[in-house]
């Protein structure tokens, strides 16, 4: 009988982790649809970024209320996962609180801290829910967040609350049975329960058998809930709990103002400026099969893999959008939407590949126009406020710039006034129509 439990549990684990592994594989494949960019330099600075920003949450506390509450939930998540290890061992081997005899007082401290964190998580998540649904902070009722993204945010909060309540109920029923005079079944004395000791009295007057059964129900629902939640990540903005780590590791280390110089352009410009270059020479034939270079990005495959990782990492908090000067003045641009659109399009491209045996079949759609309009792209002031704000170092700006490059260099689709500015630079070396010969006239003017 008890073996049946263990086998069922093992199957559940295998199925849960199996599906999750398949999702992770798909995410990695999709991220690798992006073009290569070298982000392996300076590992020391990268580890430091990851430790400070992802592990240490240093950018979260720029907004203290959300920042501190988020740290409760985050620490709760990390620490309570230690308990998960015990739950898995107990489940597989039919033991009960297997660590308790080995850890002694440490075990009491651990369980006590899990309980305190669990209640902090419930409090924080409740405040988060109120901020979204009752206080209705501007960035949470923004037009970016309609339909699934809005529900997604609430589902996550409900999930976390239910998991924490189940965890506390599980402990409470356990504690109730531990305190049965003379002991009951395998519920030996273990752990310290600062929170669930106040819940345990609800079981007074209920028979030990029923409480034992309830314990089993809470225990199973809790672990099944965790497995379901883990598999929900793939569909959710909540992926950030995992991807924040690689995302901060691979983030840009250069000054925010430094935009990359397109190497494909450098080669052409050098050739153009080389007086010895033969204008009639045949194009270099080194790799004839290589696709002709496309300047800028019109779809997700033109972006680099870090930008695609950014898109999966974004948890749609909207700090970027709330700090964006264009968005604050009513323009359509929202840096958060840039990231959400990129992820949605990437998911769509991924599904296309799945449906067509591993090959992308053109679907007459693209990130540009079908998701992101030129109007949004042209509203950007390149001020880097979004990049600075992002708690996990996502750069919506780099995607905006790559898409502008496509508009200008592939489609000549810049606004008229910008074309005039660029013509001026080309003709007279200044964005306005002044002759280069007059550059020093200011010296003699009064």
């Amino acid at each position: 009988m008890s073996y049946l439990d263990n086998i069922l549990f093992a199957i559940l684990l295998i199925v849960g982790f199996g599906f999750f592994a398949a999702s992770v594989k798909k995410i990695i494949r999709n991220i690798n649809l992006g073009v290569d960019v070298d982000r392996k330099d300076n590992p020391k600075a990268r580890w430091k970024n990851m430790a400070l920003i992802a592990l240490g949450q240093s950018k979260m506390v720029r907004r203290p209320v959300a920042g501190i509450l988020h740290i409760f939930v985050y620490v709760g998540f990390i620490i309570i996962n230690i308990e998960l290890l015990e739950i898995i061992i107990d489940g597989l081997f039919g033991t009960h609180r297997v660590f308790a005899p080995y850890l002694g007082v440490v075990y009491d401290v651990l369980i006590a801290s899990f309980e305190i964190l669990a209640i902090l998580v419930i409090v924080s998540v409740t405040v988060f829910w109120l901020r979204r649904n009752f206080i209705r902070l501007k960035r949470f009722i923004h037009s970016d967040l309609t339909g699934f993204p809005k529900s997604d945010a609430n589902y996550i909060l409900y999930f976390e609350t239910v998991l924490m309540i189940l965890f506390l109920l599980m402990n409470a029923s356990d504690l109730h049975l531990q305190n049965v005079p003379g002991g009951y079944s395998h519920f030996h004395k273990a752990g310290s329960y600062p929170i669930s000791q106040f819940i345990a009295p609800i079981f007074n007057g209920t028979s030990n058998e029923v409480v034992g059964l309830l314990f089993e129900v809470f225990w199973w629902l809790h672990i099944v809930g965790i497995l379901v939640f883990m598999n929900y990540l793939y569909f959710s903005k909540h992926l950030h709990i995992l991807l924040a780590f690689p995302n901060t590791y691979f983030a840009n280390l250069k000054p925010e103002g430094q935009f990359d110089n397109l190497a494909s352009v450098t080669n052409e410009v050098k050739l153009m400026m080389d007086p010895n270059a033969d204008p009639f020479a045949a194009a270099p034939s080194a790799d004839e099969n290589a696709a002709p270079a496309k300047f800028g990005a019109s779809d997700v495959q033109d972006l680099n893999w870090v930008q695609l990782l950014n898109a999966y990492t974004c948890t749609e908090c909207g700090r970027c959008t709330s700090s964006c000067p264009a968005n604050q003045t009513g323009k359509k641009l929202s840096p958060r939407k840039i990231m959400m659109d990129t992820r949605d399009r990437l998911t769509e491209v991924g599904k296309n590949i799945d449906a067509n045996k591993g090959v992308f079949v053109p679907d007459n759609k693209s990130l540009l126009n079908d998701y992101i309009t030129p109007e949004e792209l042209w509203a950007c002031t390149s001020c880097n406020a979004c990049v600075e704000e992002c708690p996990v170092n996502i750069s919506p700006l780099s995607i905006i710039m790559d898409m502008r490059r496509y508009l200008v260099m592939e489609q000549s689709a810049a606004p008229m006034s910008l074309n005039a500015m660029m013509t001026n630079i080309e003709n007279n070396g200044a964005p306005w129509q002044y002759s280069q010969q007059d550059r020093l006239n200011w010296k003699n003017e009064n």
């Binding site: 323009k331 002031t381 406020a385 600075e388 006034s417 910008l418 964005p431």
Partner: protein, 263 residues
């Protein structure tokens, strides 16, 4: 104001077999925009007064390519960059100072990969170094006791993390430096960057410069200090929009220093 400006060019310097201590990159706004030209001249007056050996490229200078790059025209940017780099390298330029954060950022960060390696500093950093090593002394003068707020240019602040040099300079003037509610890393853009200066804004409910000017006016300053010719234009327009031109002035940090010394 009476003394005329001494502005040698790199070509003149080379003809005399001299290499200046620093090359002053004037930039397009500093060369052509009427308001920005005043900033250029104020900076030159300080350079002249402190006997800094400097030179400009004059008619050999050309747009760094910043607005083209931010508009998405990487071709035009790299053409400009490579032409400028050829000129700068021909003169063996080592150290460049500029009063424009856009030129500053581009020269400093985007030119090295294309073959242009120079020590590039913003004019506020340069002025601070003059004070630090005793070549320039500053007293409050006409600004003593005034309330001044500093608007962080995006390409100086967030983009390159230069927050303190302009503030240190302002504080030398015996003034009350007041911060806007969002400043330094949280500073709000003036609305000009990313080539916005050269186009109309997309439809919205407000201009960015008006919003930023509201930030500044909330701090109730006598003067809004800027460190960028484009921010200067945007904020000056914002002040006009708020009908405050009689009460609040927008001035570059170099102008504050020069005027305090009655230069």
């Amino acid at each position: 104001m009476s003394e005329s400006l001494v502005v040698p060019t790199m070509a003149e310097m080379l003809a005399e077999g001299k290499q200046p201590e620093v090359l002053f990159w004037v930039g397009c706004a500093g060369s052509f925009d009427d308001r920005a030209k005043k900033i250029t001249k104020a900076f030159v007056r300080i350079l002249n007064r402190t006997n800094v050996s400097f030179a400009v490229l004059g008619t050999e200078e050309s747009c760094t390519g910043d607005p083209a790059k931010r508009a998405g025209n990487e071709f035009l940017f790299q053409m400009q960059a490579m032409m400028n780099i050829e000129v700068l390298n021909a003169y063996e330029a080592k150290k460049i100072v500029t009063a424009c954060p856009h030129c500053f950022n581009t020269l400093k960060n985007e030119y090295p990969e294309l073959g242009g390696n120079y020590e590039v500093i913003h004019h506020t950093e340069f002025l601070k170094s003059l004070i630090d090593n005793g070549r320039l002394t500053v007293e409050g003068g006409q600004f003593k006791g005034k309330k001044i707020t500093f608007h962080d240019p995006c390409y100086l602040g967030r983009a390159n993390k230069v927050y303190e040099a302009p503030r240190d300079l302002i504080q030398k003037l015996d003034v009350e430096l007041v911060e806007m509610k969002r400043s330094k890393a949280n500073g709000l853009c003036c609305g000009a960057g990313g080539a916005q200066m050269f186009k109309d804004a997309e439809p919205g409910n407000k201009e960015v410069n008006v919003l930023r000017t509201e930030d500044a006016l909330e701090a109730k300053p006598d003067i809004i200090a800027a460190g960028c010719p484009f921010c200067n234009t945007m904020l000056t327009d914002g002040i006009k929009h708020a009908h405050k031109e009689g009460e609040v002035k927008v001035m570059d940090v170099a102008e504050l220093i020069a005027n305090a010394q009655d230069l």
